[in-house]
Amino acid sequence: MGLDRRAFIKFIVGGAAGTLFTPIPWKLADDSSIWSQNWSWIPRLKSGAVTADATYSKLCSAGCAVKVKKVGGLAFGVKGNADNALSQGGVCPLCANGAQMLRSPARVAGPMKKDGSAFKAISWDEAEALLADKLKGLKGQSGKVAAISGDGSGTANEVLSGFLAGLGSSAYYYMPSDQTTMAKAWNGIMGGSGQIGYDLEGADLVLCIGADIMDAFGPTVRNQKAIAAKRPIEGDKTVTLLYAGPVRTRTAAVADTWVPVSPDGGAAFALGLANLLIKSGKGASLGGFGEFAELAAKFGPDAVEKAAGVKTEALMTVAKALLMAKNPVVVVGSGSGQGGGVALAAAGVALNALLGSLTVLPEFPKAVSHAPDRSGLLAKDVVAWLADVDAGKAPTPEVLFVYEANPAYALPQAAAMAKTLDKAGLLVSFSTYMDETAALADLILPAPHPFERLDDAQSPYGLGKATYLLATAVAAPEKDCKSTPDFILGLAGKLGVDLGFGAFEDVLKAKVQAIGADWDALAAGGAFVSDRKGSAQADLGASALAKAAAAPKAQGTLLAALDHLNIGTGALATPPHALLTVRDTELYGKDLFVQMCAATAKSLGVSEGAKVKLTAGGSEITARVALNEGVMTGVVAAPLGLGRTAWDPFTKGKGDNVSKILAVSAEPGTGYSVWAGSAVSVAKM
């Protein structure tokens, strides 16, 4: 019997029927479906013990007390530290993304040297030798070695500024912020000592003049917690919140009243209030009070309406509220968190003094004794210095250190500032990320991510009590970075500059001991809070104030640049998971949106979505119009933090950099650089 075709077919059919009685088809179908659910390019989760290690995150300017969540030892997320007196468990949108920023594609992998137009990797030893060589020849030449720091609260500044002092240079500057503006007023013009504080926790009325306390001013998490604690969801409110500014900011959104004040009218508004308070019998025990009262008298309701756009009725209501409150606190600042004038800052101090709520925090003792006093450095004008360097009035630095700052992007008139920075002989950036300044730099010596390093914060500006916080390394280093103060201490050793310490840990241990705090409690995430008060002795500086407050009103459309924390800071571009919190009325595709109300749009001849060009300070940006009735007439609001030219594909090339059109002028009477509330010309494209 041979196998003919029919038998063969029957054999095959038999085989097929047989497979139905085997696991083959069912198993293959099941396994194929599982195979299709497990594509190799979809990452798998890690397993292991989940732990949460406490530290202090300095990704945002003031910092948040956090617990870094780890699985099997790898950091994956962040939650708040409920036991910390500062943050009480809250986290800002930037620090909430801290674990992801550990592995950002914008991170600098290790020390780099500029070679032509590209960067070449070098070793830490080579970098140290290079700098030691360069700095040897510059010892004793003031202004030839300079530094710009964006960290307003860290002791690392003592190491860096002490190092500069040891080399004979006093050219140490801080990036402009509400903190430096207040230092110019309180420590500079008014001759006060210590740091101005705001006791929100004890207040029953908080008046914010320009200062967007919930979004852009000081320790935003603590500000939100302090106000929220006094406004329980069911129960009596024990604080009234008033916001006075040109835009209905996030603080204004939750405030009881929004008083529209033009961007350049804050000082006039504050002086107008001071006038009403003085007329009601309030006094202040600060020097030069008589002169100040005379100055305030010039700001009657009509003058205030002219200068600030505030109607008499609104002014009276606010003054009345201040007088009726038991513990009113006035917080002054700028919606952009920078560029405000001394006039508003001093008027704010005066108002708090008149209301009996002037809080001054004492400075913590220095660890590095050679380091210059912090308040003196905070009062220096970095914008004026760079303008002088550009004009040849000040020596061009041969070595310029940039620590925790991004001046090429974030300084006002940014494009011009970047050119000036480029003039520096050796621009050294300690940035963790490839930001705009690092991209310009000749040498990048990356500092570790805040979770990977030891750091600290002394009374972040805006607090009501002197507070000390410690950050410890809780994540394993991802890249070849070195703590900046440790690098500087090593460099100092090579150059014969004795700062008294060999390692940064010793500096901080000495600091903690001098303060009288407990290292272990701080390392576990606690905050050291002191009830000690600083000296409230100062002179109101009315003569300088008078000139500043009498500055002519800016003409035309005014720019209200807004600092939104979720978009990022100057030194930190939008973290990847914060990208979708940016509204499509601020950024869409590559287009930046500026906000204005319908009345302003009509007067400028533009409509919703129209493409416009904004020009000021010798620079221009392009944007589209978004109509927003929360912006005062005659004002254009624009978000800071966009228009990055470095970083990563997520943030690069999106929108435009509003810092370019922040036009700088010198404040009459004080000479300090100001740009808050500057004019801008808006033209339809």
């Binding site: 659910q37 986290v91 959104a253 998971h577 009325t585 595709g589 590559k590 997520f650």
Partner: protein, 264 residues
Amino acid sequence: MHAKEFKIRWGMVIDVDKCTGCGACMVACQVENNIAPVTPEVDAWAGVAYDASNKLRTLNWLTVYEINNKKAFPEYEVAYMPRPCMQCASPACVPVCPVVATDKNEEGGIVSQIYPRCIGCRYCMAACPYHARYFNWFDPTWPAGMAKALSPSTSTRPRGVVEKCNFCHTRFQQAKDKARQEGGDPNSLADGAYNTACAEVCPSGAILFGDLNNPAHKVHALAHSKHSFRLLERLGLGPQVYYYSKREWVHRLGDNYLPNEKKA
């Protein structure tokens, strides 16, 4: 669909008068649930940006809406409203799913969304009036190195699958395990033992989470407050997320009341 009764009803009360729109909740949600950052590409065919600014393409399980009273300056008022999945009592999305990838059948009342079962037909997205469901148009891509440690709480999803807020359900399981470890009752968790990522991180404490049926939980009393309302209440879906505001215009906007319509 007939509303199922549960002994425990996980819900939220969100204080719209406290929310500053900072976005920390949105960031914490993405980190907890392994939502990949949106890859920057231009959808050349449609001519729109496929990046985080195109809100039709982003996966905002929790979206913070900006609402206003539609008045001109200076009477203009603005508020911020975080919107998670409402975990409705009679969800519109559950009966329309052809493969039962979504169901409301667990004690606690959280509407589940099971990714391996979902076939991506998006009927549920069409059904949900709150736009709380999102579709993975593309495979998720993390920037190089960022996928190194993902949150162990939520599985990653491939393209073609619908996802939505699940009240950080893994934290519920973890809270139950912790209760068992400590000798407590997993079916009677204390207020705060189980908390979602968004509520945990909120700097102003605007988001409150808890068991709506349990008088010992904060949200129980607050949900019954005269200042509390639910979005699109008149649709009758029975959302388990309440909003709290002392402002009348916020209440009226919450259910699209016409200017002259009397409020129910």
